[in-house]
Symmetry: C2
DNA sequence: CAGAATCCGATCTGATACTG
DNA sequence: CAGTATCAGATCGGATTCTG
């Protein structure tokens, strides 16, 4: 149970390391959700929506391992665990925002190209 | 045979659309390889290295569908197909570069965090 | 040359049920 | 509350083989 560290095959490519992290389905949403301050597990899960507990846990563990966030367990009953972005994690927000901006400005083009491509394929 | 368009479940989130594309293993490398001008299939494949023909084809088709590149078939024998970035595809280079820069400056931190995390886990 | 077809194992994601 | 365990389904990436 200690063998799924999810490394890419090429540790010497920085871009791949980062893309392997933010390329997954949830990491970017986690960063967005934690942008305004720490949240506990259930809050985080509710704010993101549609994510299974197991999958969120995996995402958070991977992010913790990469130093993007901290996981703080409060010794109390019922248990309380806070997740908070590190400076490193927060700094990733910049590049992501750049990407998001690009995505928003060009989404129409992409969707248009997609529709055109699919149409010409369906015509045959 | 006409059903694997690889859409995400949420077409209204621009960021996901883009991340689904560049998050895969090869798209970013294709953009990098085509940055200096068009290439044909085999050149492209050689320049990237380590990619199976099928997978490269899939990647190129998806990028073509999203309007990131054009595929030009020259009617000649032996066949010749050129792939070239569109303006849209080339413009994606900017955000990717931002991400790459971030990755390069912070890789050491990430790898360090990773090593520390793994050490403390192994200690147990 | 530029792929398409086929097959395969590995990985991802999620639903469900259970627990300290 | 904050997970873990387990299982199933889907998708992915890749090797191999074949073709216009």
């Amino acid at each position: 149970m200690r063998d799924d560290r999810g490394d890419a095959f090429d540790p010497e490519c920085p871009t791949r390391v980062v893309l392997d992290r933010i390329g997954d389905k949830w990491t970017v949403l986690v960063i967005g959700a934690l942008r305004d301050g720490p949240l506990r597990f259930t809050e985080l899960r509710a704010r993101i929506g549609g994510v299974a507990a197991k999958v969120l846990t995996q995402t958070l563990r991977a992010m913790e391992r990469d130093g993007l966030l901290t996981r703080t367990v409060h010794a109390q009953v019922p248990p309380r665990v806070d997740y908070e972005l590190t400076d490193l994690g927060a700094s990733l927000g910049g590049p992501i925002q750049t990407l998001t901006d690009w995505a928003e400005t060009h989404l129409t083009q992409i969707l248009g190209a997609r529709a055109a491509y699919d149409d010409s394929a369906d015509a045959r």
